[in-house]
């Protein structure tokens, strides 16, 4: 691959061409999926895929360091941060793809089309045919070449980006930090409050434990056979994600009885 990138030519190798056409198509599909997928998680995953493809393209263009950084930093860290926040925020009405601003979608499409046309037309018009390749600059080692530039010509920018990162992390902490305004209640106080209010004195009942089901979303059964919602976590209750296995257990019992009676019947018949 190194040889390919280093070649001083206006044309690339066939291998790279095939790679470009295949992965480029996938990248565009990923990008489109990013903006069209209903759920934020799907968008994030599509974007991660596109980024990995871009990392491959960096490698193909001789930017080995960037390619690796792209995978590690972008796909590995930044996209994970995105997923974190998506989980934190959860599913909201914002995910709806229904457009609320009149004419927004049309205008966006029009602008996008015009912008893309102009951009691509501009590039085509520029007549970029000659590629020098990186063979000469990479001759003393790619990483060394980068390092030399970063720590000499771009050292100030580098230092300043360092400061920027520090500031950004502090800023993120400031923005998301919430000052606790009251003392956290102790266990004793919580117990006393429970007694005072008299709503639920003992600890909440545990979820149901069955022969085949013991997940937290399975409600325990009351003496009359109906499931108790109290045994399930509040969040799951709110989402309506309680799994009712009570009837399933009875069905299982019936099936067992039938099977045993059939077998017994067979035994009697065989007698």
């Amino acid at each position: 691959m190194s040889a390919v990138a280093a070649s001083v030519s206006s044309m690339t190798s066939t291998g790279e061409a095939i790679q470009f056409w295949v992965l480029g198509t996938v990248a565009v599909i990923g990008a489109l999926a990013t903006i069209l997928m209903k759920k934020a998680v799907h968008s994030a995953l599509s974007l991660a895929g596109t980024m990995i493809i871009l990392a491959v393209f960096y490698l193909a263009n001789g930017a080995y360091f960037l390619g690796v950084v792209q995978v590690i930093v972008y796909t590995g860290a930044i996209m994970m941060l995105f997923l974190f926040v998506v989980m934190l925020v959860g599913v909201t009405a914002a995910d709806s793809l229904k457009e609320t601003i009149k004419g927004q979608r049309w205008l966006a499409a029009l602008c996008g089309l015009g912008f893309g046309t102009l951009l691509i037309g501009g590039i085509a018009n520029a007549g970029l045919t000659h590629f020098n390749g990186l063979g000469r600059v990479n001759s003393a080692g790619h990483i060394e070449g980068l390092a030399q530039l970063i720590f000499t010509k771009y050292v100030f920018a580098f230092e300043i980006t360092g400061a920027l990162l520090i500031t950004a992390s502090v800023g993120a902490m400031v923005l998301t930090h919430r000052e606790r305004t009251e003392r956290a209640a102790t266990q004793r106080e919580l117990a006393e409050k429970r007694v005072r209010e008299g709503v639920q004195l003992p600890p909440l009942p545990a979820p149901g434990v069955y022969a085949r089901h013991n997940a937290v979303d399975v409600a325990g059964l009351l003496p009359d056979g109906t499931p108790s919602e109290l045994t399930v976590n509040r969040t799951l209750r709110a989402r309506g994600q309680i799994r009712d296995v009570s009837s399933q257990a009875i069905d299982d019992l019936k099936a067992l009885e039938q099977a045993s009676s059939e077998r017994l019947g067979r035994e009697e018949a065989s007698k």
Binding site: W21, G24, A44, Q70, L119, A168
Partner: protein, 99 residues
Amino acid sequence: MNPVNYLYLAALLFTIGGVGVLIRKNAIVLFMCVELMLNACNLAFVAFSRMHGNLDGQIIAFFTMVVAAAEVVVGLAIIVSLFRTRHSASVDDASLMKL
């Protein structure tokens, strides 16, 4: 194949990202579209680096990544605090800049 195709791809991705910014309401997805646009720029930088035969383009792409990381950190923090106060991550809900 002429390497200029990378530039076309970058332009295409950038445009898709831009349109995404305009049509999505979820602030997080909106951010992802911005990231997509940044990545498209990075691709263009890398292609230009190859075209000119020096590493400056790659350096700029590297700095772009760093700045994007910083931006994402702050941006997501803003989204989280916005969500805390408004219980919504929709950019349309924060439409206070009007009469």
